[in-house]
């Protein structure tokens, strides 16, 4: 498709735009107009789960982004221009999500939009972002981007997707914990991704998933499902999300109690924003978790990570410095920080001036490959696949010891990689 395609036909809107621009020219003259363009702040929209089911994440996503924004502006902004982030609540609802994308792009005139976490919001909003031709950078860890379901304007450069996370876990789990695995997961798309990709990855490692327990999404009590876990299970793999997760973990603890139990491996998604020292969670002692970034500060933490922690306001236990009971969503929220700096890198590489350069911005991000660890990437180095619009980072496995998460394994970038399922760069804008 030719580049001038965006405004090829004089639509109602471009006519209006032309009129306004004409007016500006008449009043201020051409040089003044250019001047206003180059020193005005860059506006970024943040699609925030402030209310609804995603609110616990949303709050930390906002804090992280504010901290990153402060750092970014202190260091001179983007292309010398200050940066402004406009937060808009989507209620963690796909319909409102798509309206929010519209609002940020059309009404606020944002240069790009980022930040949504929940998959159904991302999938519900991405079509609108594509229609409006606005770069849409999601922080969702969903497999929806790399699966080829979305569009040229939607990218996930800040966080590894669930397929890669799960695949990277299988070698260590089968080699260290055991080969006969029982999986417990929520019976919807997020859980199904875990089921499908982990089952395949375990089989590739010579292990076997002997039972799969899908829990209905509306469930609030889980005790009656546990007797279905086969007795010969060596590893119990659990991943739950939503407000009932803590109940799930506690009831699992009651079920096994002090009796004989399999090795337990879980995704920290179950316990994001939850204190591991909560009553009823004692049985987690000695079990293992996937982490996207280590909540408990490790002895070998990098300088960049320590600075990141301080900037966001998180203590060494992963809680807010203002309130030790307020636990962060540490394994996910770094994606907001990194995504903001990727926008900076992309805009600077593209020589971004105005919304007319949005296409160049997407192309600049697609051209990215390795991202090295540091202030801009406190979670660690990553490799970006421009074709699938998906980034791959290191994953961590931690063991609970004395209520703290101690890292025992770090995966390599290659552990999580899989064959490309899409080449977005061949799609039209």
């Amino acid at each position: 498709m030719k580049p001038q395609m965006i405004n090829a036909t004089p639509s109602r809107r471009s006519v209006l735009k032309g009129l306004t621009a004409g007016g500006a020219l008449a009043v201020g003259g051409f040089p003044g107009f250019l001047q206003a363009q180059s020193s005005a702040p860059i506006k970024l929209g943040f699609q925030l789960h402030r209310t609804g089911i995603g609110a616990a994440y949303g709050r930390w996503y906002e804090r992280t982004t504010q901290a990153a924004l402060k750092r970014l502006n202190e260091a001179g902004g983007i292309n010398g221009r200050p940066v402004e982030v406009i937060f808009e609540d989507d209620g963690t609802d796909p319909k409102r999500g798509s309206e929010v994308v519209e609002k940020l792009a059309s009404q606020h005139g944002c240069d790009a939009i980022f930040g949504p976490l929940f998959s159904h919001v991302v999938i519900g909003s991405a079509p609108r972002a594509g229609e409006l031709k606005v770069p849409y950078l999601v922080c969702s860890e969903g497999f929806h981007v790399a699966s080829g379901m979305l569009n040229r304007w939607t990218l996930q450069p800040g966080i590894t997707d669930v397929r890669a996370q799960v695949t990277a876990m299988a070698p260590w789990v089968t080699q260290t914990l055991g080969k006969k695995v029982t999986m417990v997961f929520p019976d919807y798309a997020f859980g199904h991704d875990h089921r499908d990709f982990f089952t395949a990855a375990v089989e590739a490692q010579g292990g076997e998933v002997i039972a799969q327990l899908a829990i209905p999404p509306t469930e609030t009590s889980f005790t009656r499902y546990f007797p279905r876990i086969p007795a010969e299970t060596e590893v119990l793999y659990h991943v739950m999300v939503g407000p009932a997760v803590l109940t799930f973990v506690k009831e699992l603890g009651e079920f096994y109690g002090s009796g004989e139990k399999p090795q337990i491996f879980g995704f920290i998604d179950s316990l994001e924003a939850v204190d591991l020292a909560s009553p009823g969670l004692e049985f987690l002692e000695g079990t293992h978790f996937w982490e996207g970034q280590c909540r408990t500060q490790q002895p070998d933490a990098t300088e960049a990570e320590i600075a990141y922690r301080a900037a966001v306001g998180v203590d060494a236990n992963g809680a807010s410095v203002a309130d030790p009971k307020d636990i962060s969503t540490y394994s996910h929220m770094f994606s907001c920080w990194e995504t903001l700096f990727i926008l900076k890198a992309g805009m600077e590489a593209a020589g971004y001036q105005s919304t007319a350069d949005r296409k160049k911005l997407v192309e600049a991000i697609e051209a990215m490959t390795t991202m090295s660890a540091g202030t801009e990437h406190p979670q660690g180095d990553k490799r970006f696949n421009g074709k699938t619009h998906q980034v791959f980072g290191h994953q961590f496995i931690s063991r609970v010891e004395g209520g703290k998460l101690i890292r025992v394994h770090t995966t390599s970038l290659e552990d999580g990689m899989y064959d490309d399922m899409v080449d977005y760069t061949t799609q039209s804008f």
Binding site: S98, Q107, Y188, T218
Partner: protein, 308 residues
């Protein structure tokens, strides 16, 4: 005559206003028109016939999924009527069972059917995409040559569907059958004695209501390119009830103004305060305390008795 002129004037105004609407509102008014069709459908059952259902999301979702899934392999021109029929058929099936009950029991039965429908969508994840849903490709959203992913055609399509639905609604409530519907709401026993079959009347009204809901769901899928389970959740059964009550139950124009007002209430409150739910809650209380008949209902009471 006055009524017909008023409704035509609204359609005309919506046609005219698109020239001046800024882009953001351009899309949103299109969205509100589609949702207003849903609300009108709800109003046929609730406002006119007195059937308080909490399961209309099932009919909306039936239309949405039927069209969304069909459009993978069929042209949109075929998928759209399929979705409309799916909504009507679902309402007919639910009605055959649920209309054996009345009042609060009817409300709960419809709620249960809708909940079962919602869970079914989640259960057949490989087909429906579960809670995540799926997007419709741009090529699939071409309705007889109109690209529904572009703003202009989308607005005009929404207006066309809305206009037809509005005028059909007007014709319905002014017909003999429309009066029988109202009679059911006011006094079922008496209408039965006058020789009308309550079950049949209510079943037809509910099916028509399902047709409207399915149409809205199908149109929504094509226009906004997304099909997802959240539209089948209980929240989307409560929303049309709110729109209808806000605009005025038992008025033809009420659902549109209810949906429009509710949208802007949420939209504007979210820019003023973080606590947008609070604003909505307070607005509902104020409304129900001081204008219990809704906007149009209150206007009708205060003089404009000819309002249909």
């Amino acid at each position: 005559m006055k009524a017909l002129a008023l409704h035509l004037a609204l359609i005309g105004a919506l046609l005219a206003v698109q020239v001046v609407l800024p882009p953001y509102h351009y899309t949103n008014v299109a969205r509100v028109m589609v949702l207003a069709v849903y609300a009108m459908g709800y109003n046929i059952a609730f406002g006119y016939t007195g059937l308080l259902s909490l399961g209309h999301a099932l009919f909306f979702a039936a239309g949405m999924y039927a069209t969304g899934l069909a459009v993978h392999s069929a042209p949109a021109l075929l998928a759209l009527p399929l979705g409309m029929l799916a909504g009507a058929a679902m309402a007919l099936a639910v009605g055959l069972l649920a209309l054996r009950t009345a009042g609060v029991a009817f409300m709960i039965v419809t709620l249960m059917f809708a909940q079962a429908g919602y869970l079914t969508i989640l259960y057949y994840g490989p087909v429906t995409g579960g809670d995540e849903g799926f997007v419709l490709a741009r090529e699939a959203r071409m309705l007889a040559g109109l690209d529904l992913s572009a703003d202009g055609p989308r607005y005009l399509t929404a207006l066309a569907i809305f206009g037809v639905a509005l005028l059909a609604n007007l014709a319905l409530v002014r017909s003999g059958f429309g009066r029988v519907m109202v009679a059911m709401r006011e006094n079922e026993e008496r209408s039965r004695m006058l020789g009308y079959d309550p079950f049949r009347t209510k079943l037809i009204a509910l099916t028509l209501s399902g047709l409207y809901s399915g149409t809205a769901g199908a149109a929504y899928a094509l226009m906004f390119g997304y099909v997802g389970a959240s539209f089948a959740a209980i929240q989307y059964s409560i929303l049309p009830l709110l729109w209808v009550l806000l605009g005025g139950a038992g008025t033809v124009l009420g659902p549109f103004f209810g949906a429009l007002l509710m949208f802007y209430l949420i939209d504007l409150s979210s820019s003023v305060t973080d606590a947008s739910n609070l604003v909505v809650g307070v607005a509902l209380l104020v409304l129900v305390l001081f204008a219990p008949k809704g906007i149009l209902g209150t206007i009708r009471e205060r003089g404009a008795r000819w309002l249909p």
